[in-house]
Symmetry: C2
Amino acid sequence: MTQSLWINGQQQSQIDVRDRGFAYGDGIFETVQVLHGKAQLLERHVRRMKEGAQRLGLLSSSVDQLLAELRLIELPDEAVLKLTLSRGVGGRGYTYDSTAGGTRVVMLTPKPTYGDQAESGICLRVCDTRLGLNPALAGIKHLNRLEQVLARNEWSDPAIHEGVVLDYEGYIAEGTMSNLFWVKDQCIYTPRLDRCGVAGVVRDFLVERFSQAGADLKVGLYELASLRDADEVFICNSLIDVWPVRQFEDVSYQSGPVTQRAMQYLVEEYQA
Amino acid sequence: MTQSLWINGQQQSQIDVRDRGFAYGDGIFETVQVLHGKAQLLERHVRRMKEGAQRLGLLSSSVDQLLAELRLIELPDEAVLKLTLSRGVGGRGYTYDSTAGGTRVVMLTPKPTYGDQAESGICLRVCDTRLGLNPALAGIKHLNRLEQVLARNEWSDPAIHEGVVLDYEGYIAEGTMSNLFWVKDQCIYTPRLDRCGVAGVVRDFLVERFSQAGADLKVGLYELASLRDADEVFICNSLIDVWPVRQFEDVSYQSGPVTQRAMQYLVEEYQA
């Protein structure tokens, strides 16, 4: 498949340069994995999008309209589906028109070809770039992603797959493009995301599944020492699913049973 | 005059929806006042743009190219000139192509019609939205402006002209679209902007002029109490120039000699 783009339901690739998405990063997006011809975990993506819309004052009905437009598109067997809702053109300066429907974008691109990271694990580094604390924006997958852009471009070594990003106070927040989990003495840990960071859909799914299964799971503020001290570490997002961490600085980990269970939860979900 | 738009030197109004300016707010901009047919304080705008480009890893030569394109455009007597440089289309995910020239936008719009704020002064409020602390982005006029969008849209009362925005720790940062100065016992105060906020071009100009004139000027971290306790308060930006603050919560101020001097510095600069 090649790339396909729809803007406000029309197959096209250009937007007005005065769009507030371009001017201010004023909007939200989702990156969804299409597998077995289905947009996986779509209800969770929609839930996050609606929460983001509500918190930013975007119209919830625009999310519905975007979904209606998506339903008219025949999905390939495998692809990356990106959904974007910006505030569109309008308003003066930072003031927006709260009745404007915004700009809706559906983009389908081929799924990237990954290596054997899911089997052999990845190398993780720590980024110098930190995330500012802002509860008003925390968790939302909004279009203000300069912190992630800076963090991701700190390294170019292809042997390093992801960077841990700390918050302004030095607590672990997330990866540049993923969320983090680790295990110590059977307990599963993942950072709080109500002060900064993106509350990932796969993270949300895994927290729910682990909790339903009665696992001991803690969400909190953790320092790097707890990551170094872990028995297992893995990262997740909607495209890579789950990748075990093999190496973090001078610490090596084995892909253990919790990581395997996380992978299995996703396999089951995708086959459902 | 009507609106005029140039993208990469061509008169047009559409950009590729995959532009990283739209996807991540990955870029910088300047809002310049055109007065007497001249882009005022342009050297300072260019200096900030170059510093922003350098800190975000955008090509400095793209700023030069944008300026070359601007020089081909005949400026009206009065207008708002907006210059934007985004990272353009390219790269995978957050990773960017460090050799890409980006997207350059020149936009001319009519100058907004303000009332008599410069004479009679404005009403100021405090915003609930706070600015996350991030020295890596502080000062830059980048395209990640959701904090300002949220802060500005907290109120709709047209009698209130601006909101004070505090940083995450509760110190005064700036206005939603302006910088702040105040005076107490002949000393001029303005907040530090190396932790968050936008280092305004007019602020920069005024700090320089006041300092050259031997004024007592302090740049630091200040709480709201110091604003309430001030003898004079004013806000500034590249379009409004200087507006005295008449009312802040239950405190009233007179437009005093320092505010008048700030206005006068700009009048002299614009006539030069």
